[in-house]
């Protein structure tokens, strides 16, 4: 349930993270580590770590900033500065798992996760036998929320989850989350297959529509069985999502996910996680369904997400076979 329009994660006890390291970690590092270490337990041998984060490190940066201002640039403690770099999740993970392979952090806001996923796809083309930990992490953080609120991205009024999509007001609710997955060319036991990722920067709905049309044409042979939409209750971006719905065949179900995770830069990673669950056969929960028949098989899922009226991504996910 959102509190003050923020959907926060419920943090577990972190048994896998050494206490000495845990004490220094900001929330995004903790939640990123938590999910990633759980995945690594299942697949302990891997060749690198590829993370996407929009806000990672922001909170620690501002905590360090507070010291700079309040102590007037006097003698300061370095821990928050060291944790404030966006690559803290990826590097702490490499420390914890002693992984000396490829390590990178993509920070392109609403497309950070997509850029990380494309990076992983490139690594797999370059090294077909390898596998990589791919993750998307973002935290709400008090300070960052305030900046985004002042910039007009969150609802001014308290939003109830049940009404989020009917509010017809600007803004959405803040979210946070961490998703981690192991990716490889291995079909056996794979949860899903990411067929294609296309990204675009545009505030022009006609341009976005054309891009989606082109994307659908490219994948003509594939029957979309579900549109997983990043609609988030912000009435300024609704038209992008409605246009996307118009372009897919009549009757194809449309589902939404932002009422579950809130809005955050790497929310598309949450959508991908959901897509994997659906492809595995889990029934689509009624609260996600916007329209259409939920019983249709979810073999080919199109995820469409738009971040802050500018960054768009189309991700095609299908069953691995």
């Amino acid at each position: 349930m959102p509190v003050n329009n923020k959907l926060s994660v419920i943090e577990p006890g972190y048994d896998d993270i050494p206490k000495n390291s845990l004490r220094r970690m900001g929330k995004s590092v903790r939640i990123g580590m938590g999910v990633a270490l759980a995945v690594i337990k299942q697949v302990p041998v891997f060749n690198g770590i590829i993370i996407g984060t929009g806000n990672g490190g922001m909170e620690d940066s501002i905590i360090f900033l507070k010291q700079v201002v309040e102590y007037n640039e006097g003698l300061l403690t370095p821990a928050h500065f060291v944790q404030s770099t966006s690559n803290a999740v990826a590097s702490q993970l490499s420390l914890a798992s002693v992984n000396r392979g490829y390590n990178i952090t993509h920070v392109h806001r609403g497309l950070a996760f997509e850029m990380a996923a494309i990076d992983a796809a490139m690594r797999l083309l370059e090294n077909p036998e390898h596998c990589f930990l791919l993750g998307g992490v973002d935290e709400i953080s008090g300070y960052n929320y305030r900046l985004e609120y002042l910039d007009g991205w969150y609802k001014k009024e308290d939003a109830l989850i049940e009404d989020l999509y009917n509010t017809n007001t600007p803004g959405t609710i803040a979210g946070e989350g961490a998703v981690a997955m192991m990716v490889s060319n291995e079909k056996e036991n794979a949860a899903a297959r990411v067929l294609s990722i296309v990204t675009l920067h545009s505030s022009d709905p006609i341009e976005v529509q054309q891009h989606l049309l082109d994307f659908l044409e490219q994948h003509n042979g594939l029957d979309i069985s579900l549109l997983l939409s990043g609609e988030n209750g912000d009435n300024r971006t609704l038209h992008f999502y409605e246009n996307a719905e118009k372009l897919i065949k009549n009757g194809i179900p449309v589902a939404r996910f932002k009422h579950m995770c809130g809005e955050y830069p790497t929310a598309s990673s949450f959508a991908l996680w959901l897509a994997c669950k659906l492809i595995a056969g889990e029934p689509l929960p009624a609260h996600m369904l916007k329209k259409g028949d939920p019983r249709a098989a979810h073999k080919n899922i199109l995820i469409y997400n738009c971040h802050k009226n500018l960054q768009h991504s189309f991700i095609f996910v299908s069953a691995a076979d």
Binding site: V68, V69, S84, N87, R100, T105, V107, L150
Partner: protein, 395 residues
Amino acid sequence: MSRVLITGIGVISAIGWSAAENHIALKNGACGIGLPGYLHSRYAETFPAGEVKITTEELKSKLGLTDASVTRTTALAVHAFNEAISDAALTSNQLTSGSTALIGATTVGGMCLTDELYRDANAVSTDSPFLASYDCSSVFLYVQRHYNIKGLVNTINTACSSSANAIGYGARLIKLGLANKAIVGGAESLSKFTVNGFNALHILSPEICRPFDANRKGLNLGEGAAFLVLEREEDVIGKKVYAEVKGYGNASDAFHSSSLSDDGEGPYAAMQGALASAKLQAADIDFINAHGTATENNDQVEGKAMLRIFSKPPPFASTKSNTGHTLGASGAIEAVYSIFNIANQEIYPALNFTNIDESIGLTPAGVYKKAAIKNVMSNSFGFGGNCTSLIFSKA
């Protein structure tokens, strides 16, 4: 798979406003490091830095950037971007093509506006123009908007190796057929935030830095930006080509968040990876642009890693005693400097090296000279153990 060739370069740093100026400065052994005149920090009187000698407002005005939300980092990026795309003679259609990617990098982003960020993050209401300007991506989202880039756009932050990874990402997009062109690079500006952060770690030097020297006392910060235009081999017929992006290696040191392991596992693996991807042997490298920040830890470890790979290391130097450590921009700025080595067949003197550190046992290049340079390795090792090595070759 297509070769990836460099057809345009742009750079701004403490030693020059353009590629030509930076080149002359390197040849002449010019040092752009001194007490900063424009940075608002009490440490401007204590720690020398490689500052670009202009106020943010003047730079924005020169570039015609009237948008109040544009930060110093973004302005530096635009300056270098302009030079690079003009140098590569990219047409407007090519620049805005869906197959032209923009891959940028920065660690500070808009946090050069340290005081403004503090105010806004604690504000109840504000008409600040900077609310969307603080994060790393704000820099390249501006470039995307300003030039109407319609291909893939990305921002990378892996601390000091950020723009080296940006170059690698762009090159790989082209090699794998996911883009035809890529404009790749990074930008960084001096900020109260980083000065205080590095000071808290006690690794800033109160004098001009001495990479690899026995008496080195730490690093000087620097600022600047650089971009390279990368194109497929088949698209550059008739164009001038500076060099090829031949190799890319990336590895994690996995030792500590702010220092490298004693044996330099990360740097070693990154350099090995670059050689392997370039299909070259260590002996093929004619010059190394070292990371060489002049901290006790980095130079020690980097030297060790170099000796593990190169039984007889080629001439090498760190250009950070010319420009300071430009953090997220260093990979790209030093890539441009590596291109100078190749395009002009010469090496530049390492500045401020006087006494060999016996525990490292290496002496950087002492004088300017002409040399047969086919392959240059450029190294960048960042906080968090993010180690990247690039190899540029004569095309």
